[in-house]
Amino acid sequence: MTIKLFTLLLQAAISTLGISLISIAIGFVIAIILSAATLSHKSIYVVPARLFISFFRGVPLLVQLLLIYTLLPVIGINVPSIVAAIVGMSLCTAAYQAENLRGGFESVPRGLIEAAEVTGLSPRQTFFRIRVPIALRLTFPALINEAIMILKSSSLVSVVGIIEITKMAQDLASSTYLPIPIFASAALIYLVINSIVALIGRFAERSLGGAST
């Protein structure tokens, strides 16, 4: 195990980070729409959103990636495999984040909303000034957990040929016959990234004033 091999793994880590961050961001936007739909009390929105969430939470990410990877060309969308991978990961994390957000919105104390209305805030103001900030603060720890899950799950995009930490480690292991040091280094890189994310999460939570409302 030379420094050169480790540098190659570190370079591949940039790809892991990029794919994960983009997927989490896109997933977050979709999750807001999904959670708004599930909270709308209108079955034309609630049913499809529930179905979407249940499907993407109920099927292994590997199967989702294979499905999207084969489905997109069939319906006439030819995109590079990296786009298919990001689409797959975004839809999956969107389903999980939507569930977290819904939980957050439902745990905003009723009294706070009533108080906002009594003080003369419009329903729109109540939503954006009271419910959204509190729900986001309540779901922040879950969002950090989800980010760690996605960073780990991104190892699966190696299956569709994208060069990130896992794929790089696989290629290096088969060309050098050093699987133990190479996979152990890959594991270490994931562990360090995830520990940093967890630390950032704890720090941010404290500066947000914790989960207290």
């Binding site: 249940s54 292994p60 499905l67 084969t70 292991a173 594991a187």
Partner: protein, 222 residues
Amino acid sequence: MIFNPQIILEKLPEIGSGLLVTLILWLVGIAGGVAVGFLVATARRFGGRAINLGLGALVEVLRGTPFLIQVFLLYYGGPFVGLMLDPIPCGLIALTVYAAAYYSEIFRAGYAAVPPGHVEAAECLGLSRLQAIRRVQIPEMALIVLPPAVNLAVILLKESAVLSIITVPELTATVSAIGSQQYAFLEAIFVLAVIYWAIVEATGRLGRVAENRLSRLRTANA
């Protein structure tokens, strides 16, 4: 292209055998994971500081790295330290170890959530230490532990699909192989998704039924 899952469903016996492998891996993984996880949590709680820190570090490594990397390390790295494993036993060991790490955290939270006063109260009422653990601590823990344990079982089913990458002949490997042979890859993956979805939904329902039973049992005894 015509979407025709019929092509896949004609291969039901093969799908059945893949499903069987997945179910065995899953159930053995859960059973092993619960047993080892419980031992780890118990050792961490009662075994002193060194054991707690050592096992805690191991659990953090297992929880902080992708399952796929752990599988590769065992499957491709194993032979270099004299551990030649066939895909199925390798998958089974990897899944059990991974499950144990997560279950140990669930049991640790379970131990922490039972108020010590309850066990002390039971002892004051004349129950022996063992009775207090069996009649008070474990039933209270079971109720706290059940929902995350079912959740984790679902996650493990989905992780077991990863084992197809090291050629374990489980559901994902079997059905996607049928798909490539029949030139019906999309249909195959679709069927695959529906089977997993059905098992996950069924597990979730079963978990909620068990939860209701358990909480009713508890209030009836109280």
